[in-house]
């Protein structure tokens, strides 16, 4: 191993390198993987997880936790469809969804930051409440979209790439920038890294946490709108269990559950690893029950490799 190569492999972006290697390997050995069609399919399949991961990254970085994302995605999707059906305006539907998502996030944030209630419990509670609202609002049924133009949100393409992928890409860029280059991002990392020090330094900890959850709610709404458009209806049962996928993608991407550490490149890699695993398993026709095992093993392998890499760095 040449020295400069070693440097890249052991550097901060090491997980990215492992990912690139794995990607190359898969491209060569899995038939049909590296086709344009499959790549687009793969990217579309990670849109929901990817979008929500953008803000979950902030949440975890600030040493918080959000279990309500799946419910918000479903709820916001319902709201978007119902509001645009009712008013005949897609724009109104979108705004209503963003508003509702943001409102749920805001409530999460206020309860957690101001009443100092454990984030796990709070978001577990709102997860249930919001899911209940979605079910009640729709009487448990899928709500069809009246205006076919709504489908275009997910179906339209730009330069041959479907819009949801563009949205995902834009959010990655925006939140990557926000994390590293803005006061908000640095404050988030500081709060997670040392809440006491941040407070004493005069960072508005409560306000920052409230904003993180509100943003999370709004971003979930974006994911919910796109999902509704993609499956051409609002479904109250959508996105159950999403929280776990998103959190693991983030953790896989090096976001620390203990707060203070996050990087957008890692999150992207985390999201992609999980997406590729699903994609490849289906391409290889792995039977459903074995998929469980493969999924588990891939998760372990990914972190194990990353660990070996960084422990080779000498620090533990």
């Amino acid at each position: 191993m040449t020295n400069s190569f070693k440097k890249i492999l052991l550097g901060d972006q090491g997980l990215v390198v492992i990912f690139v290697l794995a990607f190359a390997l898969v491209s060569v050995f899995v038939p049909n993987f590296l086709t344009e069609r499959n790549m687009l399919g793969l990217l579309q399949s990670v849109v929901t997880v990817g979008i929500v991961a953008c803000t979950m990254m902030f949440c975890l970085a600030a040493r918080d936790f959000d279990l309500s994302v799946g419910s918000i995605v479903a709820f916001a999707g319902m709201v978007a469809v119902m509001a645009s059906n009712a008013t005949g305006s897609i724009m109104v539907g979108i705004l209503a969804a963003l508003l509702c998502g943001g409102a749920v996030g805001l409530i999460n944030g206020v309860v957690i930051a101001k009443f100092r209630i454990n984030a796990l419990i709070t978001t577990l509670a709102t997860m249930q409440i919001v899911r209940g609202l979605a079910l009640i609002a729709s009487d448990g049924r899928a709500v069809g979209i009246n205006d076919p133009n709504f489908y275009q949100l997910a179906l339209s393409k730009l330069f041959g790439i479907p819009s949801p992928i563009w949205v995902l890409a834009i959010l990655f860029v925006v939140f990557g920038f926000v994390l590293n280059r803005t006061v908000f991002g640095k404050n988030t990392l500081a709060i997670g890294g040392n809440p006491e020090a941040s407070r004493l330094a005069g960072v508005n900890v409560d306000w920052t946490r409230i904003w993180i959850f509100t943003l999370q709610g709004m971003v979930c709404a974006i994911a919910g709108i796109l999902l509704a458009s993609r499956i051409t209806s609002g479904q109250p049962n959508a996105a159950i269990g999403l929280e776990l996928s998103v959190i693991s993608a983030c953790v896989l991407g090096g976001v620390s559950l203990a707060g203070g550490r996050a990087a957008i490149a890692g999150v992207i890699v985390g999201v992609m690893i999980m997406g590729i695993a699903e994609n490849v398993m289906n391409l290889l026709n792995i039977p459903a029950f074995y998929q469980y095992i493969v999924r588990g093993v891939i998760l372990l392998l990914a972190v194990l490799l990353d660990n070996l890499r960084s422990s080779a760095l000498g620090r533990r």
Binding site: K186, A197, G202, V203, R261, G314
Partner: protein, 503 residues
């Protein structure tokens, strides 16, 4: 003319009256010392000043204006900067980001990174602090971190600057940098509140002085003329302490600890040394000299890449602290916050965590015995606490340090006791009592190693001093040959005038 005034401040915590009706004032352009035993209420005073805690009664008046702040942010806006006793840094952020946290230079929310790094870099340089602003704080040593913490004082144009034991993890060289800085700030007309347990420093720097005792005002000296150290000590402790060190000759026995060619990542070259039964061996050096690293290697806290250790002639293969403890080596670490206290647990548990294995049967605890041990050391070390069940996090810094010492003093079968900066943050009265305990343990045949950055301390209590410099042992000096010059000369990497530093 008084600029900063504390007026009838009281503050109670559950079970503790931390401050009761304390009033005093400080003039503009003055350095005001705040002294008192551990738990006397000094840090609480500063926390009230910083808006971190709210006084139950009383007011803070700055420049004639009664301050009513709801948070630390309001205190900043009133021009108050506080350097707290415990490091308040975010490890994952860079030095510059830590220094500008809460007040990033930003344009529409976007941080002006280049401007920030260059500005912080300049300020650090002008203050004589040689740390790259782009380094992440987690890569700094504890001493360097302390310097970063202190640098907060110059990052903003404050009116009042309070420093809570800023020198407790600094060696003389860094302390000098700090003193120069403080004097510069005084010249600029700031009000400086300075907390320290080191009398020398206080007398050297301060213009005026307040002594707290049990949360009450014990003495206020508007000027230090005609005030003697003995007098201040008496005001603090309530009794005279003639000789803090109290060193006495002992008979020294056979070699207890023999460490040969100990090698590790941060040591420049393998180190060898030995400590004898009944001996108090000092390790002196400047920050980053590698003393703590060497001790951690001996103890197995960090992975050794080479070397052998034997106790009483018997080679031991200790590779982790557990094995070291069982072989009779214990280490009381320098970083009490990170390596010492177990947050959220009681004093009793913090004391018993290691020694309890002598009092258990089939893994079941003996609560009576544990309570007894806890009470013994609370009394012996004069830990100020409402009860042994108190969460250690609620103790004052010095009292936490005493509890951690108690943890190791309560261990049985110790043959080698290593204490790294044992009296960090501990008041004069307690210090002399701790030294007395060390002497007694030595007399019982223990080998004691004291790592300290306080030159008077190592010179005062040790029988022999090893000096480290740049990751190597650079000198070996017997008590008869102790001199500040010789020790500092060996400690300084550039061999420049030690006189400039010896005060």
């Amino acid at each position: 003319m008084s600029f900063l005034e504390f007026s009838h401040i009281s503050k109670a915590y559950p079970g503790v009256q931390a401050l009761s009706d304390v009033s005093f004032s400080v003039a503009k352009g003055a350095i005001h010392g705040l002294m008192g035993e551990n738990g006397a209420g000094k840090s609480t005073m500063i926390r009230v000043l910083s808006g971190d805690q709210h006084a139950d009664t009383g007011d803070i008046v700055i420049d004639g204006q009664v301050q009513k702040y709801a948070s630390t942010r309001d205190a900043f806006h009133a021009g108050v900067i506080v350097i707290h006793q415990e490091l308040q840094l975010v490890p994952e952020l860079t030095v510059a980001e830590n220094l500008r946290l809460g007040r990033f230079p930003a344009n529409a929310g976007v941080i002006q990174a280049r401007q920030m790094f260059s500005e912080v870099g300049e300020k650090l340089k002008s203050a004589g602090i040689d740390i790259d602003p782009r380094r992440k704080v987690k890569t700094l040593s504890i001493g360097e971190r302390q310097m970063v913490e202190i640098a907060k004082a110059i990052m903003l144009d404050a009116r009042v600057i309070a420093l809570d034991e800023p020198t407790s993890s600094l060696s003389s060289r860094e302390s000098e940098i700090l003193f120069a800085l403080i004097e510069r700030l005084r010249a600029e007309g700031k009000v400086i509140l300075y907390i320290s347990h080191r009398l020398d420093e206080v007398f050297r720097l301060c213009d005026s002085l307040t002594v707290l005792r049990d949360g009450k005002l014990a003495a206020h000296h508007p000027s230090l003329e005609n005030v003697t150290r003995e007098q201040v000590v008496a005001e603090m402790v309530g009794r005279e302490i003639s000789n803090v060190w109290g060193w006495r000759a002992r008979t020294v026995g056979d070699v207890r600890l023999k460490a040969e060619a100990i090698a590790g990542d941060k040591l420049m070259q393998p180190a060898s040394f030995e400590a004898r039964a009944g001996e108090i061996l000092g390790f002196f050096g400047l920050i980053g000299a590698g003393r703590s690293e060497l001790m951690r290697l001996v103890y197995g806290a960090d992975l050794r890449s080479g070397g052998t250790i034997s106790v009483d002639g018997q080679a031991i293969r200790a590779v982790d602290p557990r094995q070291a403890i069982r072989a009779g080596i214990v280490l009381c670490s320098e970083d009490r916050k990170h390596d010492g206290i177990i947050q959220g647990r009681s004093l009793e548990e913090n004391i018993n965590i290691s020694s309890r294995r002598h009092n258990t049967r089939f893994g079941i605890l003996n609560p009576r015995k544990e309570a007894e041990i806890a009470e013994t050391y609370i009394k012996k070390l004069k830990v100020r606490t409402p009860s042994r069940k108190q969460d250690i996090l609620n103790l004052s810094g010095g009292n936490q340090q005493k509890v951690i010492l108690g943890r190791w003093l309560s261990e049985q079968g110790v043959r080698v006791l290593i204490v790294d900066e044992p009296t960090r943050g501990i008041d004069v009265g307690a210090k002399s009592e701790i030294y007395e305990i060390l002497y007694q343990l030595a007399e019982q045949g223990m080998a004691i190693i004291v790592v300290s950055s306080e030159l008077p301390e190592v010179m005062g209590i040790c029988d022999r001093i090893l000096v480290m410099c740049g990751g190597r042992i650079s000198a070996h000096i017997d008590r008869n040959d102790f001199s500040e010059r010789a020790i500092l000369a060996a400690a300084l990497p550039d061999k420049k005038t030690p006189d400039a530093i010896a005060s």
